[in-house]
C-alpha cells in the first residue's frame, strides 16, 4: 500500500513539474495559434506518463486512477488543452485496461503503448447520429483477405493528426443495428485521414479537433472483445466525466488563484483597508468549493463502485445518473467560477496579457457544457428518472 502511494506521489511530482515547465510556459501560444501543445505532450511522453494507467505487468506505470485524475487537475491548472489531450488519451487507456478480457492482441498493444508512449485519440462522434455515442452508422466490414475495413465520417477528432492510433466506435457488422457497437483500435499506418473542416474555436484551441473521414484496414484481432455498450457504461462515460471534471476544476482553480492574486495585490497597496473585491473573492471561494466537492465525491463513488464484483454498481441506472450529474454540475460550475474571477479582476482579468488574465480559462471551460451537450444528458436523465429508485 505505501509503495503504491509512493509511486503515485512520484508520478504526481513529475506531472506538476511538466505542468509548470512545459504546459504553463506554452499555454498562451498554444491558445493564440490554436496549435497542438507539442511541448507538454513531448514532456509527458519522456516521463512515461502516457502509460501511467497501464498495469506494471504490461510494462505500464501502475498508477492509480485517483492519481491520474489528480494529474488532469494539475495540468488543467496550467493549460486546459494539454490537460484535455492527456485526459482523452487516458480515457482510451482505461477502456482497454478495464475491458481487456485477456485478449492477446490488446495485451501486446498496451505493452507497445508503454514502450513507445503511443498517443491514442478517439473517433466516437459521427455525422448523422445526432451526437449519440450509443449509435453508429459506420461498420466493421469484412474484406476479401479475412481482414476488415471501415469508413467513418467524424465531425470532430481531437488531436487526430497528432495521435499514433485511433480508437473508433463502429457497428459490429454491416447488418448490425445502430446500437450494436464494438470499438476498434487502429494504427496510423493502417489509416488515411481526410480532413473535412477547420479548427478555429472559442476555447480548448490546442486540442486541434477538426472533422475527418477516417478510412482503415485492420485485422479483426483489433476489435476489443467486450461489446462497446458495456465499455461505455462501465468505463468510457464515467471515466470521461471524471477526468474532464478534474481538468475543469483545475482551470477554475487557476482562475480563482489569479483573482486572489489580484485581490492581494490591491490589499498590499492599501494595507489599512480590506479591498471590496475581497468579499467577492469569498463568494467565489464558495462557488469553487461546491465544484471541488462534487468532483471529489464523484471520484470516491467511482472508485468504490469499480471495486464491486463485476463492477456491478457501475452498470445500474442510479450510477449512470450519478455520473451524468457530475458532468452537468461540473461543466456549468467551472465557467461560472471563471466568470466570477473575471468580475473580480475587472479589466486586468479581461485583458489577455496580464498576470490576472482569465480569458483563456473562461473560453476553455465554456466548451464543457458542449462536450456531450448537457441538454442531451438531461433528456437521458429525464427518462432514467422514470424508473430509477434511489438517486
Amino acid at each position: 500500500m505505501s509503495v503504491a502511494i509512493d509511486v503515485d506521489a512520484g508520478f504526481l511530482n513529475g506531472i506538476r513539474k511538466i505542468a509548470d515547465e512545459f504546459a504553463a510556459v506554452n499555454a498562451d501560444d498554444v491558445d493564440r495559434k490554436a496549435r497542438f501543445p507539442v511541448e507538454a505532450l513531448d514532456a509527458l511522453r519522456a516521463d512515461g506518463a502516457l502509460s501511467a494507467l497501464i498495469p506494471t505487468e504490461l510494462g505500464g506505470g501502475g498508477i492509480s486512477f485517483e492519481a491520474v485524475a489528480a494529474a488532469c487537475f494539475e495540468l488543467g491548472r496550467r493549460c486546459g488543452s494539454s490537460a484535455m489531450v492527456y485526459a482523452m488519451h487516458q480515457i482510451q487507456i482505461a477502456c482497454m485496461t478495464r475491458h481487456l478480457a485477456d485478449a492477446p492482441w490488446f495485451e501486446a498493444y498496451l505493452r507497445d503503448v508503454a514502450r513507445d508512449q503511443r498517443l491514442i485519440a478517439s473517433v466516437t462522434s459521427e455525422v448523422g447520429t445526432g451526437g449519440d455515442l450509443g449509435r453508429s452508422n459506420a461498420a466493421v466490414t469484412p474484406s476479401r483477405d479475412g481482414n476488415a475495413t471501415f469508413e467513418k465520417q467524424a465531425p470532430t477528432v481531437s488531436y487526430g493528426l497528432y495521435a499514433d492510433d485511433l480508437f473508433t466506435t463502429l457497428r459490429r457488422t454491416p447488418d448490425a443495428e445502430p446500437g450494436d457497437q464494438v470499438i476498434v483500435l487502429t494504427h496510423k499506418d493502417q489509416m488515411t485521414l481526410e480532413q473535412t473542416g477547420t479548427w478555429d474555436p472559442l476555447g480548448m484551441r490546442g486540442t486541434s479537433s477538426p472533422g475527418f473521414v477516417v478510412r482503415a484496414e485492420f485485422s479483426t484481432d483489433q476489435v476489443l472483445p467486450t461489446p462497446f455498450p458495456i465499455v461505455a457504461g462501465e468505463s468510457m462515460v464515467p471515466v470521461s466525466h471524471l477526468l474532464w471534471s478534474h481538468l475543469w476544476l483545475g482551470i477554475a482553480t487557476d482562475a480563482f488563484d489569479r483573482a486572489r492574486a489580484f485581490v492581494r495585490a490591491s490589499a498590499k497597496q492599501r494595507p489599512d483597508q480590506v479591498p471590496p473585491t475581497a468579499q467577492r473573492l469569498s463568494h467565489l471561494m464558495s462557488e469553487l468549493s461546491l465544484l471541488r466537492a462534487e468532483v471529489n465525491s464523484a471520484l470516491r463513488d467511482f472508485t468504490e463502485a469499480s471495486a464491486t464484483p463485476d463492477r456491478e454498481r457501475l452498470s445500474t441506472m442510479a450510477s449512470i445518473l450519478r455520473f451524468n450529474n457530475l458532468k452537468i454540475a461540473a461543466s456549468e460550475q467551472a465557467p461560472r467560477v471563471c466568470q466570477g474571477a473575471m468580475a473580480i479582476g475587472g479589466i486586468v482579468g479581461y485583458k489577455n496579457d496580464t498576470p490576472f488574465s482569465v480569458g483563456r480559462h473562461l473560453r476553455d471551460t465554456m466548451s464543457a457544457p458542449l462536450m456531450i451537450a448537457n441538454e442531451r444528458i438531461h433528456e437521458r436523465n429525464a427518462l432514467l428518472l422514470l424508473i430509477a429508485k434511489d438517486v
Binding site: 446500437g179 457504461g233 456491478e312 452498470s315 441506472m317
Partner: protein, 87 residues
C-alpha cells in the same frame, strides 16, 4: 425457469408492445440479445415501466441494469426472483 411458461409469453407480449424491435420478437430465442436485435436504451426504459405495471412490481436499483433486460430469459428470471421474494 421454464421457457414455455406463461410468464415468458407475457414478457414477449410486452416486448412486442414496448421494445420497438425492428425484428419479430417471436423469431428470437429466449436467450437472444434484445439490444443486439435493435432495442434502444430509450425503449428499454419503456419496457421496464411496462413490466412494472403488468406484474405490479418495482425493480430495485440493483436490478436496473442492462444485463437484466438483455433477453426474454433474463427478464423472466428477474421477475421470478422478485415474485419469489415478494411471496
Amino acid at each position: 425457469m421454464d421457457p414455455e411458461s406463461g410468464m415468458g409469453e407475457r414478457v414477449r407480449h410486452i416486448i412486442l408492445q414496448h421494445g420497438r424491435l425492428p425484428t419479430d420478437i417471436q423469431a428470437l430465442e429466449d436467450h437472444a440479445d434484445l439490444y443486439q436485435a435493435g432495442m434502444t436504451s430509450h425503449a428499454s426504459v419503456n419496457l421496464m415501466l411496462a413490466l412494472e405495471a403488468e406484474f405490479d412490481i418495482e425493480f430495485p436499483d440493483a436490478m436496473l441494469k442492462r444485463s437484466v433486460f438483455q433477453s426474454v430469459a433474463s427478464i423472466t428470471d428477474a421477475l421470478e426472483r422478485l415474485q419469489v421474494s415478494a411471496a
